[in-house]
Amino acid sequence: MIVILVKSGLQLLLLLLVAPLISGIIKTLKARLQTRRGPDVLQPYRDILKLLRKGMVIPETASWIFSAAPYVVFVTAALVGLMIPMTATDAPLSLFGGVIAAVYVLALGRFFLALGGLDTGSPFGGLGSSREMTISAIAEPAMMLAIFTVALSANSTNLSEMARFAESQSWRFLAPSQMLAFAGLFIVLIAETGRIPVDNPATHLELTMIHEAMILEYSGPNLALIEWGASIKQLILMTLLVNTFFPFGLSSNWTVSGLGLGLFFYLLKLLLLACCIVLVETTNAKLRLFRVPELLAVAFILGALALISTFLF
């Protein structure tokens, strides 16, 4: 009990600290690749701190749902972060929720955020909520199929078990099923974190926006919670990718040296994945909204192929 609490506390701290850093790294790298100078990597921390110290305006038309949504978004993301192995194979809460629970707890946050978007009565909020729920609904089967492929070979939906199994078979990520599942999940990652070509995180007033439209009416600490929560969710999905497919360097115990080494490898892997995301964002144009389902259909088919190839190879 105490051990779980201490481990949870440590991982929570790591989660909260690393999440904005990754957002910052992606922003900076993207700017450099587009030959802009861009903000430095610490900018998201400054944004969050600034927003936390501001007052906020609550729309007159909104109910308590609007104010509750940021808390739910932040708390659900943080809880899922404790179920997933970050630097050590044993995640603090991995016994209490596997990958299915993780996906569904994140969905709880999204459910409330979409309600918050509609609560203000602003048509932008409704537009964002509608698109967010649509795209996540289409992404869900592709995501689950790819995850099932990994879970079926590991014989468990428990994230620590999945990582442990991947660790025991060192070159397994080269198997066709794993590579196909990884590709499918990568597309889902792009869609779920609202990145180009699905959504553009840099726009704030465009008819094409999804996530930003939904949170348009939020300000101050509420907005900070949502932004922080979104970056935690991004970190979780990235961690899911790097640690279930490439579990190198995951520490098998919770000792200081093991964790230190684990942290080093973890950040290295995240950096590589961030580079991939930046490459995709820079080399692609944003898709029209109704072309997005086709992209996600590709992810679904990749997942199905991954599944079939598990017993061909």
């Binding site: 729309p59 016994l95 990958v99 602003s122 729920m133 609904a137 079926l152 468990s156």
Partner: protein
């Protein structure tokens, strides 16, 4: 264990229902008295039946008794086993909630509608449902089944002045009779094989059935029970009939009446037909997937709040069938452990769906009661005048979307685990079906969440959209108590899922011969596992508590700024455009527009826009917009079928010549034929 008074309590409950029925009928001239009698006696009866169910489940061994009726083949035989106890427990919980709710709801009937007649039908419906779940004789079962269908018909057509209601009632009664017809044929096959009408004799006789006989019986029963349960493509009556009934009746119809189909499948497929071949399970699984996905897709297109909920019943029946189908497949493949887990998933979802669907229909009933409309496009902002109703509806919406830590998540999680186990437990290429079904379950869950964001937000949030929303009021206290009872059940069944699992042990022991409940609970009774050595684990209790614990530091974090500058109310920013009104709010139709476009191959949407303008087409004076989707099943499947039947009937008319000589000749020929073939032995 000593014999518990199951039989006596059960009989007392039935007596209370019967007494209630006739007391209501007798007091139809005094509406207030009829209302008190109806609700008081129904509550007492539900409490007695609830006790009987709990006693029956505690007893552990089936309680059987039979009272001969003097009529050959027909006896009042009952078997109060785990399955009967479980379904009667669900019935009692729902009946209690709906009855308390009705006390407030029926008040507006006073002076307008016949509460005595309503009470009579209500009590007989509950009475027949109780007997359906406990009957152990095919004839008693079918009679109760018919009475249930007829009283439900009476209640569905309660607002008979409305032509839509009459049409829906007619469709319902026709489909009900088709399903009874299939069940009759199915039972005749079993009776012929076993030589007895008692359920207990079917199981032994089924072992001697030839495989073609077994297949025929399976198909007949499956058709019969699927029509009752509203499985796609036999669902067309459900979204027509459930919304037009009074809301408390809609809650019962979607909560428990359609579950009689699930009960029948569990009873007949696992008990009476022997071990069914794998294709039967596959058929159940595939129709389950189709019902789940199509049910939720059609629900998304609805802006009638109650019809939206009716389509969700189809979706959830689909999820239940996924579990049942997997259980059938695992049983024939020789994995009784997995079959038991899949059966538990199906039955747990049956319980959960009964509770949250009943809750949501009651919530929709309160909205209708207060605003007078079911059309979501005219609602909005109800969270302010009706905060308690809104809260109950929100809990129901989170639960039905399968989101943790509420009860819908637990049963969906178990269904996922069963489907994943299916991949390893079966051979060949067919095992691909299981993970695909799992991903379709994921699609269903995500679409259901989208649909309930729409249903809750458009109805309860933002600004009121129509005149109806201006003089609304919170529901009366009795209606809130009815809903609150179910809301509490949603939370407890979710957080305390592991405590409730042992209930299912007796049922799996009865149907599959083993108990797995203990294997499913680990980690000091808090963690639910998939039952096998591997698989996954989850704990809704820890998730719920974890979310609460994390909430405290988050609130502290967010209060830094609020302490210095406070929270200000201001007009909605809306990109700086002043004057936000209900007219530029997002509507239910707009919310589901992206999905309507993505799945246009299924919906075949049609829209018509007519603009009237004076000078320039850029400044229209008024715009007429019409949009509809094609009811595929009605148009492609049922309309041709109806044409065929009408054409055949016209042909058959020639036989009905109107001449008494011809009719005498028919009777004579029939007699000869009967003598030739019927009295052979």
């Amino acid at each position: 264990m000593n014999a518990l008074p199951v039989r006596e309590t059960f009989a007392l409950g039935l007596g209370a229902y019967a007494l209630g029925a006739f007391a209501c009928l007798g007091s139809w001239r005094k509406p207030a008295l009829a209302r008190y009698l109806c609700c008081g006696l129904a509550l007492a009866a539900a409490a007695l039946e609830g006790c009987a169910a709990v006693l029956g489940l505690l007893q552990g061994t089936p309680v059987r008794w039979s009272i001969s009726s003097g009529v050959p083949l027909f006896a009042y035989s009952f078997a109060y086993d785990a399955l009967a106890g479980f379904f009667n427990l669900i019935l009692a919980v729902l009946a209690a909630a709906v009855t308390i709710y009705s006390f407030g709801y029926l008040k507006e009937f006073e002076g307008k509608r016949n509460i005595g007649l309503f009470g009579f039908l209500y009590h007989i419906l509950l009475l027949s449902l109780t007997i359906v779940f406990a009957a152990a004789n095919a004839f008693l079962f079918l009679i109760a089944w018919e009475v249930m269908a007829l009283t439900a018909y009476g209640l569905v057509s309660f607002y008979y002045e409305d032509p839509e209601t009459r049409r829906a009632g007619l469709l319902y009664i026709i489909m009900s009779h088709i399903d009874s017809g299939f069940l009759f044929l199915g039972f005749l096959l079993l009776i012929q094989a076993s030589g007895s009408v008692e359920f207990a004799s079917f199981g032994a006789a089924a072992k001697q059935l030839s495989s073609s006989h077994q297949a025929a019986a399976f198909v007949l029963f499956f058709l019969g029970f699927s029509i009752k349960a509203g499985v796609i493509p036999f669902h067309i009556w459900l979204p027509a009939a459930h919304p037009v009934a009074p809301s408390n009746i809609s809650a019962l119809l979607s909560g428990i009446v359609i579950k009689t189909g699930i009960y029948g499948m569990a009873r007949i497929f696992f008990d009476a037909l022997g071990v069914l071949p794998a294709w039967a399970g596959m058929l159940v699984l595939i129709l389950g997937v189709a019902s789940a996905v199509l049910g939720v897709l059609y629900a998304l297109m609805e802006h009638d709040l109650k019809r939206l909920l009716a389509y969700h019943s189809i979706e959830n029946i689909g999820i239940i069938l996924m579990g049942l189908g997997s259980a059938l497949i695992f049983r024939v493949m020789g994995h009784p452990q997995l079959a038991a887990v899949a059966l538990i998933a199906a039955m747990f979802h049956t319980l959960n769906h009964a509770i949250f669907k009943c809750l949501l229909f009651l919530g929709a009933g309160s909205v209708l009661h207060s605003t007078g409309t079911r059309n979501m496009e005219k609602l909005g902002g109800l969270i302010r005048p009706m905060p308690a109703t809104a809260f109950c509806f929100l809990i129901g919406a989170v639960a039905i979307s399968g989101l943790p830590p509420l009860n819908g998540f637990v049963s969906e999680w178990l269904t996922y685990q069963s489907l994943l186990a299916g991949f390893g437990a079966t051979g060949g290429l067919t095992r691909i079906l299981f993970p695909i079904a799992g991903s379709m379950l994921a699609l269903t869950g995500a679409l259901a969440a989208a649909c309930f964001v729409k249903a809750f937000a458009i109805t309860f949030l933002a600004l009121p959209r129509g005149a109806e929303s201006h003089h609304v009021h919170e529901a009366p206290r009795s209606m809130l108590i009815g809903m609150g009872w179910l809301t509490t059940a949603c939370v407890f069944l979710g957080l305390g899922a592991t405590w409730f699992l042992p209930i299912f042990d007796a049922m799996t022991e009865q149907l599959l011969g083993l108990r797995v409940g203990v294997n499913l609970i680990t980690g000091k009774g808090l963690v639910l596992s998939a039952g096998t050595s591997h698989g996954g684990t989850v704990s809704t209790a820890v998730i719920g508590i974890g979310l609460l614990i994390l909430m405290a530091p988050t609130a502290l974090l967010a209060s830094i700024g609020a302490r210095r500058f406070g929270r200000r109310q201001g007009p909605t920013w809306d990109c700086g455009l002043p004057g936000l009104s209900s007219e530029n709010e997002y509507t239910a139709t707009a919310f589901s527009k992206p999905l309507r476009m993505i799945f246009s191959a299924l919906y075949q949407p049609r829209r018509e826009i007519q603009a009237v303008f004076d000078v320039s087409p850029y400044y229209p004076k008024e715009i007429h917009f019409e949009s509809e989707i094609e009811p595929t099943f009605e148009k492609r499947l049922y309309a041709p079928l109806q044409d065929l039947i009408l054409r055949l009937s016209i042909k058959l008319r020639a036989v009905q010549a109107g001449s008494i000589h011809a009719y005498l000749a028919y009777i004579f020929i029939t007699l000869i034929l009967l003598l030739l073939f019927g009295v052979r032995s």
